[in-house]
Symmetry: C2
Subunit: 313 residues, 2 copies
């Protein structure tokens, strides 16, 4: 493509961020708005276009090759967002078509974790890798699986739901209607559930007790950093379930690395060190001491824009 | 490639089968020999070349594009067979190089399940599919994962070890040194272990009692076909663990189909019908009623040769 720029849009449950990005991953213009508070998708898109228009005019529309969009439950093949639990609009939304009509740009859409995987491969920790798995540890657990240098979309465009691998058979009920899914344990939400459960069941002294009933992943992180025994045990449990599941993913796709992004991933070594230990303990011999666990090194606020924009190239 | 033929060699633990195959999958020459009884790899290769020579001469060596080899624990990237539990030769065998030197043909090697996947994609039940998973249910469980029309070898060439996904945490000890691996339950070996265990622990009347201590997968199949309640329950248990694990594989790679091959797969619907039920019960909503479970329709004796030869194209 001869146009040097791409428009990247990340539609999150709470905020929408967007930017215009050059081929080397430099964000030349950016902005953000709330995703919430729009009665209809049409209202949301009208406001989004209002926000984008001045940025597009500034760089010149003829310089923009296309738009890439990351959104929860978005399907690369159909261009639709289907039944996203974390968005206000229900049902199936033909987002790629709606944005194409509004922006008069070619629009490619994929789910947020897949967009993040592409961003890491183009500009981040997975640069140059042909086989890796992106894991986002946020409200849920998302993933983007790259093999042979290509994202695996699967037959229907919905591959990469590692957050809904059954980690504990007949375990915690999940919003998906099943039980024991990885994301009920090893996400920002999952670690909070563990903390609240354990505080209610046990009598250990802990820094976390002052937050009981309203614990956040950040509280647990801070308590663990301060050496709080219960908080460290909660991280160990969270890491054990994550590490066991990663070992199974390795048996199937044998990646060079897992790259972690999202709220809980910001805990860094407090989470990744025990996760590595449990993953290694559960790996088949042939995979031991090979698979890297990396934290995303893209600047937090920009990663989503970079990932979405990289869809264009 | 202008040469119209490929040499396919399948090195099994017991037998080696080989054939010369045209582009449409017609086997024009074939033969077999024992894999066992050779003190060294060199002795084995000498005999294999003696067997191949007249076949190659018959079709004309200039008509053969290259050779493809399927073997347990073979690595596509390195051309080596590494620590194969089911072969007599220990350590790392540079099989692609040894055969290349002996045959003066380009040699491509991969593990037996990957070769089977390629055979199914070229000539069999997965013809035209871009996303599917081959599952071989034999002494162990092997697999070949195809995504975007390509086999996933992974970073190191060892991807596809679904047989060593942990199906039951802290379950039956496995030859790999870990425990609870899928292949300890849902393989020809696994179903035998279940049958022997249950016969020892329970008192039900069953056709299987006459074989106790020496039960084969075939005995269990025959008893189930005859309506034996215990045998049917054993198949149900085997299928439950297989179906649960397949549901997790779907969450990661979202294939169009699983294609089954190998001893236990010959039980057909007795295995696949309950497997489908348990897979569906464990699938995330978005994947329900989409994923096919298919039995390989390649002629049993030829499938391995076809798969190995298809590596060439």
């Amino acid at each position: 493509m001869t146009q040097p720029l791409a428009l990247g849009i990340d539609i999150g449950g709470t905020n929408t961020t967007f930017g215009i990005v050059d081929r080397r991953g430099q964000i030349v213009e950016k902005g953000h708005m709330s995703t919430k508070g729009f009665a209809t998708v049409a209202d949301y898109i009208e406001e989004l276009v209002n926000q984008l228009r001045p940025l597009i005019d500034k760089v010149g529309k003829h310089n923009i090759a296309a738009a890439g969009v990351g959104a929860p439950n978005a399907n690369f093949y159909t261009g639709e967002i289907a039944h996203a639990a974390n968005l206000d609009w229900k049902g199936v939304i033909p987002m790629a078509r709606l944005l194409n009509e509004a922006l008069h740009l070619k629009v490619t859409i994929t789910n947020d974790a897949n967009a993040a995987a592409i961003g890491e491969m183009e500009y981040g920790a997975a640069k140059g890798m042909k086989d890796f798995v992106m894991i986002t540890l946020g409200t849920g657990v998302g993933s983007g699986v790259v093999a042979n240098g290509q994202l695996i979309y699967g037959h229907d465009g919905f591959a990469g739901e590692i957050g809904h691998v059954t980690a504990i058979r007949d375990g915690r009920p999940c919003g998906c209607g099943r039980s024991g899914c990885l994301e009920r344990y090893s996400s920002a939400t999952g670690i909070k559930i563990t903390a609240e459960e354990w505080l209610a069941q046990r009598t250990d002294d802990s820094l976390l007790r002052q937050h009981a009933g309203n614990i956040s992943a950040k509280h647990i992180h801070e308590a663990a950093e301060a050496g709080d025994a219960l908080a460290l045990e909660i991280f160990d449990y969270t890491a054990r379930i994550l590490g066991q599941t990663l070992a199974d993913v390795v048996a199937i796709t044998s990646p060079e690395a897992f790259v972690f992004f999202g709220g809980l991933a910001q805990s860094g070594d407090i989470l990744l060190k025990p996760t590595r230990k449990y993953m290694e303990a559960n790996l088949l011999q042939v995979f031991k001491n090979k698979v890297k666990l990396l934290q995303s090194d893209l600047p937090d606020a920009d990663a989503a824009i970079l990932g979405a924009s990289a869809l264009v190239w």
